[in-house]
Symmetry: C2
Subunit: 419 residues, 2 copies
């Protein structure tokens, strides 16, 4: 299946930049759309450009190595309906049409491709209703469409699943008048609508829109398996940091950064335990950044996540063992510390071994309610370090051992019962 | 596809037991063949029995819940060719024919099903040539077949992939004479041969054959990923123990047994370190038994392997931490011990995390030559414990930390390079 992407608009509010090539979350808007469509088997792209941006867009397409045909609209002032019309000889049968300057989310594209016609959103979350193109629907088809309608039920997302009969209506309109907007063709064709509500799609017109799109992308890049502290504290901070860094550093550098901060926190134990606890919690926050940047900037590499997890284990071990070394004295105390370190390992080991053996996350099917995920453990350690020296460290280790073994025990029992 | 299994033979050397129902490696011969064929999509079985064993075999088939049709041969003395002939109305097109009293290995069945005709073995490893039925081949077809041939190139395995045209030849022979052996039909039909060399198939005629078949099954049940000590010491002992226990205990009980021996070894540290080391090594040997029994007795459950791995981690931790507790005194020494315990964990964690993320064993693609697998670590610990008290325990921990971190480092570097 092919997709037609309209990139012939004349950007007026983006300081002369070519909108489809504006970077949002570390990647050009056009890169994002093409990549998402490719994951759904769409591998040929018809890109309609104007004379001004032709060269830059062609160079970009060659750089990313995609199968494309370029169609030049020499009269962009004739409207985006005319741009679609120009693509008529390059597609046949079913095809996708999308605006080249819109940012679409992963979930949006997946749902949009399940239907046909104009994809509409009944609960737009990321665009202001003032700016949106409203759609009045009758019997599942477009009756009216425009910016200033009342009694509309949903708005135009700039994404369509069409077939080539649309060109008959386009041709009629192109013959009738000079400027033809897409919405006029849609209305004339009485296109079916396909509702995809509340997912991410955004018209990116201004630098402010870029920031809002990035914020949305980062909020969607958070993993569903987060623990309590991660969900309510760490992610709120890490996504802000990620947004600042996404155009500046790679996921690998972010991994290295959080690892180094972790090592520094461990060594800080020898200087000041409260300070070390704070830095340890900071490293736990930074630990989310690499994954967030990778997901938003579409740079996810499995090996990156793999190395990151291994480095997490190293940091946890370093922190706890140096804390034990610096504060404990008797073999009994060390035995408790060893139990705690062992327990915190087992939480990860049991989960990974389960995923390796059964091909699914132990957290997805077996809702574990006993606390003891890494974010929670690190936070607990920080709180303790801040209270130190009022409490002996061995209490911390005893508590850690208790919660981690509780968690491991629950995981094992539930897994055994399930299988 | 269907399979015809011939169970109408009159066992003479098995003390009156019904041969297809004799247990080999914890499972009836017939169960083994049916189960292996089922994993290859064969799900209907035509079982030819005699009047004497009919009831017992039917009860067995109902118990294991298989889709079967029973054909009774009231004249078993007319030979196994006649038994095949009786099955003629129950199969059409391609079908499998196998002797009901033969033990077939997993690899044998997989390879056998890839060809057609009489499956022959040019390098029989598990049967004596004196007893075997020899085959003389010309142009890929059977020219002669019998026990006393010379110039044969391979032997009859008792496994066939046929089509229903075989019944024409069978019918001719059944009309011509009273007793018809399968080999006569094979010769008359000039059957194609399909070579599967050196894999496990065995005619089980005597109690001694049962023992030899079990030995073969256990030697094949050893995993390819074993470390040096496991391969050269542990498996040689564990497979013997497994053979003794396979008809007596379940894999789960074997898991529990090795875990308990491991716990006992850990606690023994407080009594006698050399003794504890020996028991620890014993638990490492016993650790292989559950998997071997499960594989040979076709009782493999993923959750069994999962729990077993988790218990291994617990035993390793208990042994090392109690050893540290009993022998170390200074924080520095404990730090080294913690490093060692952490390292031995990371070996398992890194490997499992890799398998979870990449769906393949890190050992298969990346040949790791640095020692430090569990069998090797346990053996090293035992050797040290026997030498104790001539060497301070901290040396053991330093060595353990070194080999395990070397191993982890090599795994990580190679994995990162590969991906």
């Amino acid at each position: 299946m092919r997709a037609v992407l309209l990139c012939s608009g004349l950007a007026t509010r983006m300081r002369g930049r070519i909108k489809p090539l504006v970077k949002v979350g570390g990647r050009e808007i056009l890169y994002r759309t093409i990549t998402l469509l490719r994951t759904h088997g769409i591998d040929e792209f018809v890109i309609v450009v104007n004379r001004k941006n032709k060269e830059a867009i062609e160079e970009f397409l060659q750089r990313i190595g995609v199968n494309y045909r370029l169609v030049v609209n020499d009269s962009p002032e004739r409207g985006n309906g005319y741009s679609l019309y120009l693509a008529r000889n390059h597609v046949s049968g079913r095809f996708v049409l999308a605006m080249g300057d819109h940012v679409f989310g992963e979930d949006f594209v997946r749902e949009a491709l399940k239907g046909e016609g104009l994809v509409c959103d009944g609960e737009p979350r990321y665009v202001s209703l003032d700016e949106a193109t409203k759609v009045v629907v009758e019997d599942g088809r477009v009756r009216d469409i425009g910016k200033h309608l009342k009694d509309f039920c949903c708005v135009d997302t700039g994404f369509f699943v069409l077939d080539d009969s649309i060109f008959d209506h386009a041709e009629e309109l192109v013959r009738e008048r000079e400027a033809v907007e897409l919405s006029e063709i849609v209305k004339r064709a009485g296109l079916k609508i396909h509702r995809v509500d509340g997912r991410l799609w955004m018209d990116v017109d201004t630098p402010d829109d870029v920031r809002r799109a990035e914020k949305a992308l980062f909020s969607l890049a958070v993993k569903g398996e987060d623990g309590f502290i991660s969900k309510h504290i760490n992610r709120k901070i890490s996504t802000r940091i990620s947004r600042m860094l996404v155009n500046r550093i790679s996921p690998n550098h972010a991994t290295l950064l959080s690892f180094l901060v972790g090592v520094i926190s461990s060594l800080s134990v020898l200087v000041s335990i409260p300070l070390a606890g704070l830095i340890y919690q900071l490293s736990s926050i930074l630990d989310g950044v690499d994954g967030e940047i990778a997901r938003v900037a579409m740079k996810t590499l499995k090996i990156g996540g793999w190395v990151d997890s291994i480095l997490d284990r190293v940091v946890d071990f370093l922190f706890l063992s140096i804390l034990a070394y610096a504060t404990l004295r008797t073999p009994q105390e060390f035995f408790v510390a060893m139990l705690a370190i062992f327990g915190s390992f087992m939480v990860s080991y049991v989960a990974e071994k389960y995923r390796a053996d059964f091909g699914e996350s132990i957290y997805r099917k077996i809702r574990v309610r006993v606390p003891g995920k890494r974010d929670e453990r690190v936070f607990l350690v920080m709180v303790f370090c801040l209270l130190y020296p009022y409490l002996p460290t061995v209490y911390l280790f005893a508590l850690l051992a208790l919660i981690t073994f509780g968690r491991v025990g629950e995981m094992v029992v539930k897994a055994a019962r399930k299988n």
